[in-house]
Amino acid sequence: MPNQRISSLDWGSIRFVPILHNLLEFAQEVRRQFREFRPEVVAVEYPETLMEPILRGVARMPLLSVVSYEEEDGVLTYLVLEPTDGQVEALRLALAEGVPVHFVDRDTADYPYDFRVFPDSYAVRRIGHQAYCDAWLRSDAAAGAVVQEDLLREKTMAYHLQRLSAEGRRVLFVGGLAHLAGVRREIEAPQARVIGRTHRDGVMLAHLHRDSSREILSETPFLAAQYEAARSGGEAEGLDRLEVQARMVRLAGERQWQHARERLSVQQLRVLNRFARNYALLSARLVPNFYQLLVAARGAVDDNFAYEVWEIGSDYPWQSEQPDLPVLRLSGEDLFLDQKRIRFHRRLKQMRRRLVPVPVRRRAREAAPGEWRRSFRGEAICSYPPEDLVIEGYGQYLKKKALEVKTEENVRIEPFTGSMQDGLDVRETVRRWATGRVYVREERPLRGRVGSVVVIFDPDEPGGEGKEAYPWCVTWLGEHDQESDMAFYSTPAGEVMKGPGISLCQHGGFMLTYPPMRVFDIWKDPFFGQARNKPERLLMAAIDYSLEQHVVYVAAEPPSGRCRSVAARLGKTILYLPIGIFSAETLRKMRSFHVLDGHPVRRYAHRYV
């Protein structure tokens, strides 16, 4: 049969639906063909020895189950029942419509891995199932090594199918594409039943633990969940893997805004998509897998965003708090590091299953969702000291940088006349070599020092409904003589939690002024009542409290005329630096800070921050 075109996937009253296991497009194809063919019997490539637990597992879907048993050599074998598997789909449809099911495979021990490569399943969506199967059958891989065990399995399947077909009923057979040619070959000749195991003891059915479903599902859990949701809405066939990935990235972007007040830029999204697309193509895939998508998310944005993608992508929502079955934890790490040799159910020939470390950093989790948030009282809040040092250091850096930038702007280069000024300007001299003149530079350093620093990340213009993104306005006094007083507006404490009593907030803007212990709450001080928005209030306070000549103002927009005139009246100057000249990565770090629910939290905060 290899290297031939299959004119039809029917044989007598049997319709073959060849699949690759646990892949969305094939589950969709099974649904389509089930509707079209309206079978009277469904046959699947599972052994009858596992029939009872598999059917029990399928019946409790969308909850995830694992069928497990121990082989004679002590090897544990696991079969995870996933919603995106074609055989599982066939069984679910059959159970729903009361169609009898038959398990026609042979129970086999020590079946070797199949390393044959299959084209990306997404091709099915674009060129159709039949064209995909045809193309594969014509490839060299289809004619690949056939072991004795394969032959026995194919004979067993052919025998059962002949028997079912003899009854004249319409049989839908769902089995692996790798066996299509073999089963078609064997079914042409009358088959006798191959001797084999008909019963197996000690087969267990367990509920898969939530944490395990994050790691070991063949399809991205989010995709499996979307399929499950679309299935109940009757739209499962229309689900497109690429669109689901785009949705996943969009949701991660929304969560990034919620947690970090950072928006995914168009440019970042473009890099992410291009990088993921190219990465997939170079790995002989049409659509990036979850790992590749995570690498692209980290590459185009950062670790935090990759974590959000992982968090969303690896979540399968149908979980049970009190399952009716024993709970089994399986992890990708266990599969490699555990002393026991564990192999996945050998019949599940998959496309290059390989476990790669998830490129995200693990974070502490709550025992129950919302637990940390509920326990945050917010009565005696304080800062996290290591972050105070960082922000103080950044304030010093901004002061220095502002003086440097302004000094640089004051440099004048002119042709040498009478004085060498501050030395020869080689660059200009060489550039105008042909003129034969020598150029000198005059440096005019900026006099005075900087007393306050204001950084505005987001001016927080109220939205259409007057809703503010950074409503929390606070003034904090320095805790010792090396720490500035600080005023800021940010996201509220207690909204995003990183640990018990530890809340993560994002600055909208802040002001630092030195020396400490001088600032009265600027958000209540009527002296700054003329400020029209939060950035103005911060800047006015910075000008008022500065004991030095200059105030540094870092923002996307220059300071308003009103602030400039306040500065002029008080004899101060505002050194404005556009925020774009600073490293976005550093600004991101400066933006996030933790609020602790009382001083005792400082003792253990480092474990969560």
């Binding site: 830029s265 440019q267 970042q268 890099v271 992410l272 291009r274 990088f275 190219n278 990465y279 193509l281 170079l282 790995s283 690498v295 692209a296 980290r298 590459g299 185009a300 950062d302 790669v356 490129p359 660059r427 060489v430 550039r431 070599w433 774009g580 000249i581 600073f582 490293s583 976005a584 990565e585 550093t586």
Partner: protein, 291 residues
């Protein structure tokens, strides 16, 4: 004689591509990531300019060089420093015979002209001002402008760019407009035990397995403890220890197994620091099952 090209009537001397014995071993996924960043599909598509990030000694430059070689294009390495000026990256005028000016293209511009791969090593050490001179080269414009020579140079379609950056603090801050042009960022972590063994063997073909295993155990323990010691340090320790073993063994006629612990400890102290020597000593005296 260096190659020259004439652009807009200005004669420019090109740098020669680099041919260095750098070989990347293991972690094939990372090579695919760099190649994925460079891949273009059609004329409308543009290559990305990846930034390789990792601790010193993890092999960032080797990875970039290896990926460049896979493309079968000439590879040009440029070592960035704090003193790198914008013209160093583009075209530098030098005074030649009879006071005439000769324009020397940097390795980056040579790659731009020849359609090669330019790798700026330790790009985070270079100032924002220097990076700014490459801004148009790294976006859709794909050209570089030399004020000194008065020419605008359009990049060859095969030109590819990559920079490496250390994860340490002694670096310049890069503004957003440069950051966004150096995407995607590709992170290089320390290799796992098997891969590290292959890297050590590939770099130390003359070493026996015993020394390699000791060094490997040391490195893996260091990675586990988040120490900064890298495979490059491991290679240097082994090299030093092997030289000492060869010299001392001949002189003293002592058994190699007796000398080995002392020599490795000494090598760790000489090449790294006291902490490394202490870690080494603990590992050498640990029971095999503790390792």
């Amino acid at each position: 004689m260096a190659e020259t090209v004439t652009l807009d009537g200005v004669e420019i001397h090109l740098a020669a591509p680099d041919d260095v014995p750098l070989r990347w071993v293991g972690q094939p996924e990372l090579v695919t990531q760099v190649l994925a960043a460079w891949l273009v599909l059609g004329e409308e598509d543009l290559p990305l300019n990846p930034r390789l990030i990792g601790k010193p000694g993890v092999g960032k430059t080797t990875l970039a060089y290896h990926a460049g070689r896979i493309l079968q294009r000439p590879v040009y390495l440029f070592q960035a420093t704090m003193d790198t000026r914008p013209e160093d990256l583009v075209i530098t005028p030098v005074i030649a015979e009879q006071g005439r000016i000769r324009y020397m293209a940097s390795p980056v511009v040579s790659a731009v002209i020849k359609g090669g791969v330019a790798i700026i090593d330790e790009g985070n050490r270079m100032s924002e001002k220097s990076w700014a001179s490459l801004a148009p080269l790294l976006d859709a414009r794909r050209y570089v402008e030399s004020i000194v020579a008065g020419v605008k140079i359009k990049a060859h379609p095969d030109f590819r760019f990559c920079t490496t950056m250390n994860e340490d603090a002694s670096t310049f801050e890069l503004p957003e407009y440069i950051h966004s042009r150096l995407q995607p960022q590709i992170y290089i972590d320390f290799p796992d035990r098997d891969e590290e063994r292959r890297i050590l063997k590939s770099n130390l073909p003359f070493s026996d397995d015993e020394v390699i295993e000791y060094v490997l155990t040391f490195l893996q323990a260091a990675h586990e403890g988040d120490e900064r010691y890298s495979v490059r340090d491991g290679i240097n320790i082994a090299r030093y220890a092997l030289k000492r073993l060869a010299a001392d063994g001949k002189q003293l006629g002592t058994e190699r197994s007796e000398l080995l612990p002392a020599v490795l400890g000494e090598a760790a102290a000489m090449i790294l620091d006291v902490n490394a020597a202490r870690l080494f000593s603990e590992l050498l005296h640990a029971e095999p099952e503790d390792l």
